[in-house]
Symmetry: D2
Subunit: 252 residues, 4 copies
């Protein structure tokens, strides 16, 4: 890197949350980034602007993230968003805002772990070659939702790929089922949620064909696993105007 | 083994089924056993008696197995039974028959694979030490029932052990569930059934405690995996009067 | 498919071997293919030509495969080769033959299971994103070589991708090692070979980065798993002049 | 528990190390234990005695642990030891000391995670039923030794059980081996060490027989996983005079 290049100025929203605090430490430790603002509940967003932030990282909550994001786009500040709850309707609204500010970049991602991003990419790629597929996600027992956002997204990507390839339903001769044993269904794909002490965040995608299975498994053992993906997004967003969903397109 | 010992005379019921045929081949190949009768639909049971069978192996169907077994006990022929569908009520009836013929032995087992038997034993043993536990069974997509008989039995053994140890429900904060995602419940234990091409018969028991998990996994890749257990039972049953449920007690 | 399309005429070399026999059954069962010649030790290759074969499938042995292949190319017959032992020098010779017959297609593949082909593709793709990687292959105990050909190829693809991305050695602080515990090394990538009764052919590739791991696993439970890949190659090779190594390029 | 029961008074040696500090927090949080002394490098052991400790927990280093332990036994203080490096010769010396102080209890354990203790017990139990077995341990890449102490101990327990059952070598037809691919050997049992970023401490024991495999897997995700085992040992040691090796005997 040339010495003339100034570090990118980064502000963090949700800076006192567990993920936000980790992001602050990570940005602070990166030579090519400068942490200029740490904002949380009760602080004004103006601190971000006053500090001259070029990029904002948002790990807040679904009820405030849309206001934060709208404000960033209006101010011409790029945004990397890890907050959950981004429905298609919400993504449409973000795109509408960006039409008025075509120079601004926004990255919204359900999962910043590189391994999870690759797992989703590979699942989408493999889907057309196997008649059977099931998604099994495993998390700590304090998780409120089942399945996880990553599992839902994975199942949707698989379903789309199967439809495009003309595959029908997964084969299943079950006649006599204990209610729930065969899991939930996301666009026809069975999804199973395991909850256990000792686990953090894990997912398996099992593909099956004639005489063989292919299994993709991702294990996140701690929050640090999300940081390389956050850094990748922060570095990429300034050169990537418009809306980007998921880290996949940034992996090149 | 001393040379004077005569081979044990064995008859097979359901001899033309896939399991029965494999049992016939296996008995035939064992030096200390002699295959004296192969009986299937339409054949009379008398062939077994005429051939002087000391032990009968039954891999038939739930609708005929009780008649077969009653007849064997009456004739004083020991029996090893792999046919499914043995409810507690059925086991009670077998015990009642055996009270009149105390010299006869009957072994009824849900699974003859040694690895599956050990998996159940270990699951029962580990259950009291972990707050979390889930059972995941994986089978080929032509299987009619979900969960498998082995998974049901495993979950029951775990539930009994947890109750005996005073453990309550497994921890689970799920508030927002896609129907079925958290699996079925067998006496409170979550059980998940995966169905996929390329699979045969597999089961995982996942235990979780503070900062750790313990996983027991059994994979049956073909029917041959059941044969060592069938041989073990055939050899043991003549010296073991009364009813034995599962191969566990025979492993010593 | 239009009704006018004639079935492709296929000859099988090594037709009495275990893989060859399975290929014969599979070709015979496919509507768009016709099995016109089954050749094995002692039979002449002329039978293939007399029968008008357009494509030959070769599952023979390393000592005869080069002669077979040379003859096919000379006769203008396309070839799909699953025989092992194809060193870079052998592949060069095949390419030289094909320069004189540019209309002929040859596919040489180390593994015809679609899942194994995808596992290799994904391993190559993921390699640049993780500092750690190890390959673990698991096979039945009658296998003569360790590691397997697929594991060697996987490790080479990973090593190439790491070099292209400027990654150095995998991190490893081991000071005190029981000889062999850390596995063998293929261009710096640790490779471990497990041999056990009850296994068929399996492979895991484990990638590790900060706080996360990504695992790719392929399980072949029987030879039938190779047949979809053989069919894919037979159908593709007539429209694909020149040499193709591995099924990857055919997956589209 | 009756209200009259006084809490057990506990001292911790190596209290500023990572494990020792976690033990201090854990003892402090337990209602039936009282943390009365925290000792580390440079502190005198007399602090332990002055504080009236009944039990000492030692997570120090191989070079000082024998002196610590000798002193404890002399003073009549029970000890729970997690420090590594206990060879058979060292254990013999501890037993000799205890002969003079028959009322004192000492527990020395290579692994305090309950799941690891059960894994070893189950491996020992299953060993006689399977012709094949391999141990695979997986750890973070900063680990200095390969294989881990737990893997060595597991392999030894398996080897003993196989010998007692009259089993010979594991089957292995390997003729052509890349050096190290087949792992290291501990009394004939193949042991493989995987090192990868993203891992903590994990072990798999794979047993294989005719058509089936049984896999035992333990995953430690953080140091907290050792605390239930430490508590179990502290509570048991006062009623268990003499030397106890491993937590197995305490699990009841």
């Amino acid at each position: 890197m040339s010495e003339e290049r100034e570090p990118v100025r980064v502000g963090v929203l949700g800076a006192r949350g567990r993920m936000g605090a980790e992001v602050c430490r990570t940005v602070d430790a990166a030579d090519d980034l400068e942490l200029v603002a740490m904002v949380d509940d009760g602080d004004g967003l103006f601190a971000v602007q006053d500090a001259g932030a070029e990029v904002v990282v948002d790990f807040t909550t679904p009820d405030v993230v849309m206001d934060n994001l709208h404000w960033c786009v209006e101010q011409g500040i790029h945004a990397v968003v890890g907050t959950s709850g981004f429905t298609p309707a919400r993504l449409d609204r973000v795109e509408a805002w960006l039409r008025n500010r075509p120079e601004v970049g926004v990255v919204v991602a359900p999962n910043f772990a590189l391994g999870a991003v690759l797992m989703m990419e590979f699942a989408q790629r493999a889907a057309r070659y196997f008649e059977s597929v099931e998604v099994i996600e495993l998390h700590h027992p304090k998780k409120l939702d089942a399945p996880s956002g990553t599992a839902l997204r994975t199942a949707e990507l698989i379903a789309e790929a199967r439809e495009a390839a003309g595959l029908g339903d997964v084969p299943d001769a079950t006649k006599d089922e204990l209610e729930g044993a065969r899991g939930g269904r996301v666009r026809g794909i069975p999804v199973h949620s395991i909850r256990s002490a000792g686990l953090v965040a894990h997912q398996e995608v099992l593909f099956g064909g004639v005489g063989e299975t292919l299994t993709l498994r991702h294990d996140s053992l701690d929050r640090s696993s999300f940081m390389p993906g956050v850094l990748l997004a922060v570095r990429a967003v300034t050169g990537r105007p418009g809306l980007t969903v998921g880290l996949g397109p940034l992996l090149g």
